[in-house]
């Protein structure tokens, strides 16, 4: 297959490099990643603010590496339109070094890039894995091997207009895997309020809302299963319409 890899942490980040190494023996792989780390960029597409630059670097195991001076979603759209010679058969976004789960998928550049791939009509998978750091490369190599082992199974069962969002916990086992839904909860953000030396006010986001206890989860879903050590697979559809709500709104008496 022709596979396009992108990532959130940059085109040379260990996650994407290890993934490319694991895939390159059986597939034609190209990496198009952001020039600098793009954390929490969500579905940001660079438009009027500045143009994009592309750079090509040395190849690694025949894998061509390009950087784009934009976000992960820019990498996908620019790669399809200008960088790649033909449309890829598969887009894999990741491996990023944090979870992309619950409603955080909308802020995660890794899942957003995969969703953009699906929008462009190409089967897309987002890969996230979390380690406490230190042995990144070994850990990502392990995740990449486990993923490549499952790739045929994923490809066989993917449906059009659906993105696969996959998370690996730190102590995963390749056969301990579950397909589950997003854990959607009511968020509660906290900020630190401060005044700078020039008398201007600013806020810092204090909690990242990830560190809540297991029993606080009202519904199970991906966050729950990750904490239990499962590899979670979540199929995400593009159509966000709430069909139950259509009738509610129709009967809500909204008039011109």
């Amino acid at each position: 297959m022709n596979i396009l890899l992108t990532n959130e942490a940059g085109c040379f980040a260990p996650g994407v490099i290890e993934l490319a190494k694991a895939l390159s023996s059986h597939h034609r792989v190209v990496i198009v990643g952001p020039l600098s780390p793009q954390l929490n960029t969500g579905h940001w597409l660079t438009t009027a603010s500045h143009p994009l630059r592309v750079k090509q670097y040395y190849a690694l195991n025949k894998v061509k590496i390009f950087s784009v001076s934009g976000t992960p979603c820019d990498c996908v759209t620019l790669a399809i339109d200008k960088i790649l010679l033909s449309k890829p058969d598969l887009i894999i976004s990741g491996i990023c070094n944090h979870y992309s789960h619950g409603e955080f998928i909308y802020s995660s550049g890794v899942t957003a890039a995969a969703v953009e791939g699906t929008i462009q009509g190409i089967p897309s998978i987002a890969l996230s894995a979390k380690t406490r750091g230190g042995k990144d490369e070994k850990f990502f190599a392990k995740v990449a091997r486990a993923f490549v082992g499952h790739l045929n199974f994923f490809m066989k069962n993917m449906t059009p207009n659906t993105t696969l969002n996959i998370n690996y916990p730190e102590d995963f086992r390749p056969n301990k895997i579950i397909c589950t839904h997003l854990t959607t909860k009511i968020a509660d953000n906290h900020y630190d309020y401060e005044v700078n030396p020039f008398g201007k006010t600013y806020y810092w986001l204090k909690n990242a809302a990830f560190g809540f206890p297991l029993e606080a989860l009202e519904q199970k879903g991906d966050i729950y299963n990750l904490k239990k050590g499962f590899i979670t697979v979540t199929p995400l559809k593009l159509d966000l319409t709430s069909k139950e709500a259509i009738e509610v709104v129709e009967n809500g008496g909204i008039t011109l």
Partner: protein, 288 residues
Amino acid sequence: MNILIAKVGNIRVNEIKALAEELNKKHKVTICSMAEEAGYRGLAFSYRDVPIRVVPLLYKDILKNSTWVENRSIKFLKETSKNFDDVAAYEFTSQPADAISVMLCEIMAHKPPDLVICGISNGAHMGQHVYTSSNIGMAMEAAFLGTKVIAVGVDEKIGGNSEDELKPVAEFISKNVEKFVKLKLPPHTFLNINIPTVAKYKDLKGIKVARMSRLNQPSKYIERLDPKGEKYYWADRVTRTNADPSEEFGRTWFDKGYVTIVPINYDSTDYDAINDWNSKIKTNGGEQ
């Protein structure tokens, strides 16, 4: 009612003025705006490296069109009240999702708004553009926080629509504000409302509650050379045409001059597929 208008754009734009003036006739309005244009950013947020800057203002100072605007304290603004002169406005230098989150979790935490209105966005958010739109990003963040929220968009026009063109839009919203609040929507749901630009209110054809559209979304880039002869790429402005003009989709009705309302659920899990997947995966005791 207590209404928060959140706009991805400068506080001096017509979109805010049209909506704030209309709504302020009956309701208490607060404004959240961005110092810089921040479109096409989805739900991006800043975390760790850059703090979220906010300038608290009085909206009447803005309307005077003076270049120097007095920076008020947040505490002073919290104590101001009813009449239009005292509409409090907050101008953020951050990502759009940060701005709405700080408004709801900190600045308005003592008196949460009954309704958040995101917009009016210069550009209808339909089809797959819902993922990229900053206006929808703001609305989604407000929905995460459990607030009632609607996102409003109009036809895109370079330079923005004039005040007269925005009047029918503001009128429609103001007429139905109470009804939007009363709707008993399922959890994780908010409304995406797109309104065609018309000369007079009576030109609006009707209202249609519909499904999220399918649009042709080609991503095109224009290649140029800089004076050094090196390539760079501009994202091209694309007109997203309707890919499926059947009557269940919002875009079909919008093109005919209807106000379209699409209820959006941010839980995008494909629930129909889960059991299928799990029957093929041999799960080892995981729980749904």
